[in-house]
Amino acid sequence: MASLEVSGLTKSFGATHVLHGIDLAVEDGEMIVIVGASGCGKSTLLRIVAGLETASSGSIRIAGREVAALEPAERDIAMVFQNYALYPHMTVEQNMAYGLKIRGLPKPEIARRVAEAAGLLGIEPLLTRRPRQLSGGQRQRVAMGRAIVREPKLFLFDEPLSNLDAKLRVQMRAEIRRLQRRLGVTSLFVTHDQTEAMTLGDRLVVMHAGHAAQIATPMEIWARPADTYVAGFIGSPAMNFLEGTLAEGGQAVALKAGPVLRFADGPRAGGEGMPVTIGIRPEHVEVAEGGIALPLDLVEPLGSETVLHGRLPGGEALVVKLGGPAPDAGSLPVAFPAPALHVFDGATGKRLDP
């Protein structure tokens, strides 16, 4: 178990810059989830930490030791791949023992560790089978087992759940989290799925176009997103964004859609009339008498809740999430409660705090 420090990490493929200076400190035993849309550089970051790609510049320290120049073999890490990457010609047992054999561990020690990991993952009956005789979930477990037996300093997960069906994914997600807590291994987990990110991570790194847009706990990111990208990426359905300008000396916002809303937490810097983007999550929009009329054009019932799509008078789209069944009306009066508003700079998209 160890800490991981990444600083000033950049990567370019020719003229294409994939990572622009990533700084990240992972504490001992912490699980960090790197989340972002495809092409944001999250997998590249993980592969650089693993040593499968070389960084263009920057440093990587595992347990205080600089590893940027080392081979993957010398970094003492284990990785779980998206397609599991099991050795097809070896049995489950041989798959798990391979890394230990290479490290020259004595046979009884190898057998002990394999048996222990197999017990932990409930794959003892599969030990003599080959990967092609296993289901997706079983392969995933074996891949985990192969990582666990190594007792590495660092676990790396490269979208390990995306090849599983939805039900199994939820189950494995919980299992990975439990296992990681129990073993206390420092882990980096890459995913494009925000639910996975929110549920798994002690902290999240939201990546956007080669930058770490925000590094914080899941709740912090949900409650105080650093910019409009993060705000729109985390949370489902995605946050609504409404155009407006600062009014009343920064105390309020005049929405393009009509109303002027006073901020609950104090004035924003910037002059009167400065363009801002107001974010509000669909679940925070209230239905209230005397609100703005929102004509609905789509109703999505989800059982315990309902998602409504409509357009505000200014033409901006608005999504509302209500608990319970859909109201039987073509139009709803909606209001935006002041404490639920997120204020972002209209030009840069950065969060504006009082």
Binding site: A73, A78, F81, Q82, Y87, H89, I102, R146, R150
Partner: protein
């Protein structure tokens, strides 16, 4: 796959007729004729023939010349297979790396397959001829007595190299395809597990290539048995003495030069049995083992 069900049998039969016809005319008929011929003894002028049962076979198998040719074939085909496959595997591993100009390199390596056997033989002749060949003359000047027209071992070495060279391309294509079908992530997993390149090759790549390698072994042996006639004929003509006379070459010598059709047919039937056996082994192996 979509299945089409035909009504009646006329149309399906008509559709497979060309293939059947080709198989019958170019394979079943000559093979049948060879088997029939191998049971006969013909007079030198081809005027009469007499049924002799298996006498041709017992005579051939007892002949020291045939045994010599069988020994030559063993040495020749094993060496060709090992040399052609080893070289091809080495080149394929190199070509599989991401290097600049990899495509050009791959294309160039595939070319020798398009060279006719006799032309290939002439190329090697121009290299190794003791008096006009580049390498041949250099060897002699360096004090090595090189003359494959006198030295049987040198002749054998030369036909092995020439025959193997022609087969390298074929093997190369299969090995490269085999290498490229190994998922990158499996090799990466091995690297993270601590295996260095050499170890990865022996414990991951080679086992995963073994079905390809086995298939190629059979193909190469069949190639060395049958398709190397042209190379041997153009380079050494089976000589010096009978140093490079393989079984297939002896079939030709016996049938065409000595006009002993019965014996020649018996020999080709023996070869036919050998190749059928090899193919059968391969099919069994593939059914049992290959699916990873």
């Amino acid at each position: 796959m979509r299945k089409t069900i035909f009504k009646g049998t006329a149309l399906p039969l008509l559709l497979i007729a060309p293939q059947l016809l080709i198989t019958c005319i170019f394979f079943l008929w000559p093979a049948g004729a060879a088997i029939w011929q191998s049971l006969l003894q013909e007079d030198p002028w081809g005027m009469s023939s007499q049924f002799v049962g298996l006498r041709n076979f017992t005579e051939v198998l007892a002949e020291p010349e045939w045994r010599g040719a069988a020994y030559n074939t063993l040495i020749f085909s094993t060496s060709v297979a090992v040399l052609a496959m080893g070289t091809a595997l080495f080149l394929a591993v190199q070509a599989d790396k991401s290097i600049r100009g990899a495509n050009l390199y791959r294309t160039l390596l595939i070319w020798p397959y398009a060279v006719a056997p006799a032309v290939a033989a002439v190329l090697w002749l121009f290299l190794f001829h003791p008096s006009i060949g580049l390498v041949g003359r250099a060897l002699n000047q360096a004090g090595i007595a090189w003359d494959y027209k006198l030295n049987g071992n040198q002749a054998m070495l030369l036909v092995i190299i020439a025959a193997a060279w022609k087969q390298v391309s074929y093997n190369f294509i299969f090995f490269l395809a085999g290498l490229q079908s190994i998922p990158r992530s499996v090799l990466e997993a091995a690297a993270i597990d601590g295996a260095r390149p050499v170890r990865r090759f022996w414990t991951i790549i080679l086992p995963l290539l073994s079905p390809t390698a086995f298939f190629l072994l059979v193909v190469n042996l069949v190639y060395a048995f049958f398709d190397t006639f042209g190379v041997i004929h153009a380079l050494t003509g089976g000589g010096p003495g009978k140093a490079t006379e393989t079984l297939i070459y002896k079939v030709y010598v016996e049938g065409v030069q000595n006009v002993n059709l019965g014996s020649s047919s018996a020999q080709s039937v023996i070869l036919m049995v050998l190749v059928i056996a090899l193919t059968a082994v391969q099919f069994r192996f593939i059914e049992r083992k290959v699916h990873y």
